[in-house]
Subunit: 352 residues, 2 copies
DNA sequence: TTGTAAGCGTTATCAA
DNA sequence: TTGATAACGCTTACAA
């Protein structure tokens, strides 16, 4: 009796440890090294042993312990990404694509959110590094000194996304925000517009928004034009703000004939508010946005906007960082092209 | 000279290993156990040593290695969550709140996406468990046999979110989907509606959508009413589908006077399409949605809908799973209340 | 309150 | 191709 009861506890093989690589090795009658090789370097094991080990693994239902693996190999197979927001337009699409691309190459995506807060972003980066991510995907390219220093000391690769700078020392994957906006300005000027307003996305810790604003400013300057300070306002990311800010911009005199919005929701808000003010687009006013979400084309008045293939940003960023880790020779960034999608909110400038 | 130059490389202390807990201990003149305690159980260390150790940690810029920690303690401090989609309405809000709540309690959120695919969800769950998550937050409560078995064998806790079932053996945090819809039906019936149509979200691997549909059906049955098969259609999650399906439902005869949509985008599409068909809401037709995104109230015609505090779902789910891990006594689920938000798309049923 | 030292479950080096 | 065995960087009995 006693013996039977105690068996599971006293039997050294059974009791010592739950199923682990050691147990697999014991049952298969091979060394632990061989089991490990079957997983990480199957070609280096003879076929006979390989199939035998795989059978035992399956039979025992063994699942390797990621922590032990990470500790021993100094790699986790996880990539960290820090986004200002996760559920928002282009980021959401990029994240989906990124996750798929990483999964396809057997990496896990660890997501963090910085809320457009520089200090929080550094905290998040630290946490991800603690977790042992093998690489880091960041958004933008402008950072604090502390942050720069932290990154430089890192022994893991990282890249910038949603920006593109050919001269950057670290790889970038994204659109050229300034250029995209410059193209939009070219288009509007070609329609005869000379008086502009802008409902920009706030610049706070957002170099993409800043680049878009600069792109507009510089492009206008090339035509000898400028946006008067009162007609240049900023908001975050909401329809309500777009509505409010449109009224603000239209209150300036002389009234702009074209208004450039810094993101999709601001543009939607502006267009909806214009309708409520009985302003007819594009007869009385042209409005454009940035980012081409489903809403931009499905609302009663489809909105002219800049389209960036965010899913390509995500996929390429993921592939790039993995390439860097796996020692590909040619790892450089990529400029994701942007295009102007002309819809019904833009037309010739009204005659004075 | 030589000595100075070589110091950093030959000094055994400096060269042997990069900064680790051992080095911190050496520099602070304490044992490794004390350093560990300072991090994990600060009260058990005298104040003098504690501050000394903390200074050294800061000075050396030491970052603990999560893998080693996990291996040694058998806890990772990570919670896994699997959502059908990440960037969509209520899930996006819940994820944000979840992440904040977990961070506040020093846990990391590991996100995975199942795309409403049952097989993929099980794969994701396996991966998260391999990674060593301490707990799992799932969406819904209906799963395949394999999946159920996998979860039962797990030694870590898990919970269901976005559903509520008081009788469930495992904790649920979410709204009562059926009840929310039943309340909507009560409201519409009280307005005199008797002929209903439904643009449901597809049921495929989505027990929330199924519950909402059942909720509508059962509530109508209590009034002796039913939706004819042709007036019951389903779509995924897009404005375009909402538009198309509205036409389909309105083509049935007799024409419904009230149409219930299974999610926000379907409702928005239906309302926009109605406007294009010159159908005046709510005079000619009432339309309601589910989920209260910003768009539901900001579009030209604000839409009557069900509001669920998704951020509370996220926060409570996070707190609940951590409570379970930290051995709180009373861990039970929570029903998150829902409410009907009446806007301009609903009114008395038109007279025949 | 503090220290000693034995793991935790893998990988990877070296020999065979 | 395979096997022994020493790390990997922490946590945690147990002892002092």
């Amino acid at each position: 009796m006693d013996k039977q009861i105690d068996q599971s506890t006293t039997n050294p093989q059974a009791s010592r440890k739950s199923t682990g690589l050691r147990q697999v090795a014991a049952v298969a009658g091979v060394s632990t090294a061989t089991v490990s090789r079957v997983l990480n370097n199957p070609e280096s094991v003879s076929e006979g042993l390989r199939t035998r080990v795989l059978m035992v693994i399956d039979q025992l239902g063994w699942v390797p312990n990621a922590a032990a693996r990470a500790l021993s190999s100094n790699r986790t197979g996880a990539i960290g990404a820090i986004f200002p927001a996760l559920g928002v337009g282009d980021f959401a699409r990029a994240i989906d694509a990124m996750q798929d691309a990483l999964a396809a190459r057997n990496y896990l995506l660890l997501l963090a959110r910085s809320r457009y807060d520089a200090a929080l972003e550094l905290v998040q980066a630290r946490k991800l590094v603690e977790r042992g991510v093998d690489g880091l995907i960041l958004v933008g390219s402008t950072r604090s000194q502390d942050y720069e220093q932290f990154l430089r000391r890192l022994s893991i690769p990282y890249i910038n996304s949603f920006v593109f700078d050919a001269d950057s020392a670290i790889p970038c994957v994204g659109p050229d925000n300034a250029r995209a906006m410059a193209e939009m300005v070219d288009y509007l000027v070609s329609l005869g517009h000379r008086r502009f307003g802008m409902i920009a996305q706030t610049n706070r810790n957002n170099d993409r928004a800043a680049a878009r604003r600069d792109g507009v400013r510089d492009a206008l300057a090339r035509y000898g034009l400028a946006i008067p300070p009162q007609a240049m306002v900023e908001g975050e990311w909401s329809i309500a703000e777009g509505r409010k800010l449109l009224r603000q911009v239209l209150a300036t005199s002389p009234r702009p004939t074209a208004i450039i919005c810094g993101n999709a929701l601001l543009a939607i808000g502006a267009v909806l508010e214009a309708a409520e003010m009985h302003i007819v687009l594009p007869r009385d006013l042209s409005i454009v946005g940035y980012d081409d979400t489903e809403l931009m084309s499905e609302l009663p008045q489809p909105i002219t906007t800049v389209r960036v293939a965010s899913d390509r940003v995500g996929k390429l960023a993921a592939d790039l960082i993995v390439d860097m880790l796996e020692g590909q020779t040619s790892v450089s960034g990529a400029r994701i092209p942007s295009e102007i999608v002309v819809r019904s909110t833009t037309g010739p400038a009204p005659q004075d």
